[in-house]
């Protein structure tokens, strides 16, 4: 009984820390102006966070975190389909499963997941919002989506390392599967 309460308390700490990081990343990413913008593209920090939380905390946390992050991202995207909510939830779960079954957890795994996750996000966003809905073409994909994916991947790798450090600093909890 006491053990269960302790575990719950530890999870609350982790959830609070991840919630604060999510809010911070969302505010920075969607800040008006040209914060973090290089060559017309910005990193999508929430993508990196979803990859990191999935890879470090397991599929359940990755899925829930991805869903919440997606809801936030959808609130600033027109038209507000549930693209981000679905994509980020799936991304979180996929990253967790990849780390559990395919990749050896560590820097290389983070690198692979960051690159693939960012590329998938940029492609999905382009196909849905640009190609299908707003009339953008492959020029946009090559000049904005791919550089944006590269920038996001670099940011994602840093975020993965940060989340791993956070998990080590906070009291240990078992991954929820």
């Amino acid at each position: 009984m006491k053990n269960e309460r302790l575990t719950r308390a530890m999870w609350v700490w982790h959830a609070l820390a991840l919630g604060a990081l999510l809010l911070l990343a969302f505010l920075v990413q969607s800040a008006p102006g040209t914060l973090l913008q290089i060559g017309g593209v910005r990193p999508v920090l929430l993508t990196g966070l979803c990859i990191a939380v999935g890879a470090v905390y397991g599929p359940f946390c990755g899925g829930v975190f991805g869903l919440v992050a997606g809801l936030l991202a959808d609130s600033v995207t027109a038209p507000s389909l549930a693209f981000h909510a679905v994509f980020y939830a799936a991304l979180g779960i996929a990253c967790a499963l990849a780390v559990q079954h395919l990749l050896v957890p560590g820097f290389f795994a983070f690198l692979v997941l960051s690159v693939l996750g960012s590329l998938l996000y940029a492609t999905g966003y382009f196909l849905l919002y640009k190609l299908a809905m707003r009339g953008g073409g492959w020029y946009y994909y090559l000049h904005f989506s791919l550089p944006g994916a590269g920038y996001t991947a670099a940011a994602s790798l840093l975020i993965c390392l940060l989340i791993r450090l956070l998990r080590r600093l906070l009291p240990a909890v078992e991954s929820r599967t």
Partner: protein, 285 residues
């Protein structure tokens, strides 16, 4: 007692005192202020006196400071509070200055277009994945905003409302290929359509297409809305022509237009919720 007065020590002492008294008296009578012994002692003691003075001075300051510590702390806190207030006032002042300039522009626009109904809004967020600069504002359906309402700044057209909530709306800019704005060149009245072009997004410009090949458009011309279609009111400044070229089909001319509104640095905008001749795209109002 007699033994003391008759002792050798007393006699030596007496002799020394007498010598000093005589020497001092002699120097005094000769007009010199300091006797040699005083001078000597002064020379020896002066550095020590300075050191002592410095130490005691420091100690005095220290004890004074300790005594005033509470007062100083209060004073320091009061000054910090005052500084904080001034900083806040400075921020407020900057904000008022910006707002003042913003509303001044709109007042001019309102005077020119009495039929416009405005809803001021603040830019709250940007879509990080969209290079065309779509953004979210803090005004929505409850504020009278409708889908496809034009969004402007004092400098000119920004875009239109593409998605709508009760208290917020998402705006796509004129850089987005989704938008097509009926436009005319102010000087020559030649008509075309301003549309976002993905190859021009990086430079922050859009294109004015479907101009007749004989059109007399030149660099520096101002492009304004034509009012055709009823989505955008007539006469809004869109931007200035920076380049004129043949379009891809080589049939008509295409002008590159730089929007006058700074689309990357928007903080406040106005939504035109109503204007004379408003038609819309058929799915709003």
């Amino acid at each position: 007692m007699i033994r003391f007065f008759t002792s050798r020590g007393f006699r030596v002492l007496l002799a020394v005192v007498c010598v000093l008294a005589v020497v001092s008296g002699g120097f005094a009578l000769a007009g010199r202020a300091l006797s040699p012994q005083s001078d000597l002692l002064g020379a020896i003691l002066s550095p020590l006196q300075k050191l002592g003075g410095a130490v005691t001075g420091q100690m005095e300051r220290f004890f004074t400071a300790v005594g005033r510590l509470e007062t100083l702390e209060e004073e320091n806190n009061a000054l910090r509070e005052e500084l904080r207030t001034y900083r806040e006032q400075l921020v407020e002042y900057d904000r008022y200055q910006r707002e003042n300039a913003f509303y001044k522009d709109f007042l001019e626009m309102k005077e020119q277009h009495a039929d416009y109904a405005f809803q001021p809004a603040t830019v709250t967020a940007r879509d990080a994945a969209d290079a065309c600069g779509s953004f979210t504002i803090d005004a929505g359906r409850l504020d009278g905003v409708a889908l496809h309402d034009p969004v402007i700044t004092g400098d000119g057209l920004v875009g239109y409302v593409a998605d709508l909530g009760n208290t917020m709306a998402t705006v796509v800019t004129v850089l987005d290929p989704k938008i097509g704005v009926g436009a005319v060149v102010s000087r020559t009245r030649e008509a075309g359509v301003v549309r976002g072009d993905q190859t021009l997004v990086e430079q922050g410009v859009c294109s004015l297409s479907y101009l007749q090949s004989a059109a007399a458009v030149s660099i520096g011309d101002t492009v304004i809305t034509s009012g055709a279609g009823g989505v955008f009111p007539k006469g809004l400044i869109i931007g200035t022509v920076t380049e004129v070229r043949k379009d891809a089909s080589n049939v008509s001319l295409q002008a590159v237009v730089k929007p006058t509104a700074d689309l990357q640095a928007l903080t406040q905008v106005m939504v035109i919720t109503d204007f004379e001749g408003q038609g819309g795209l058929g799915d709003e109002k």
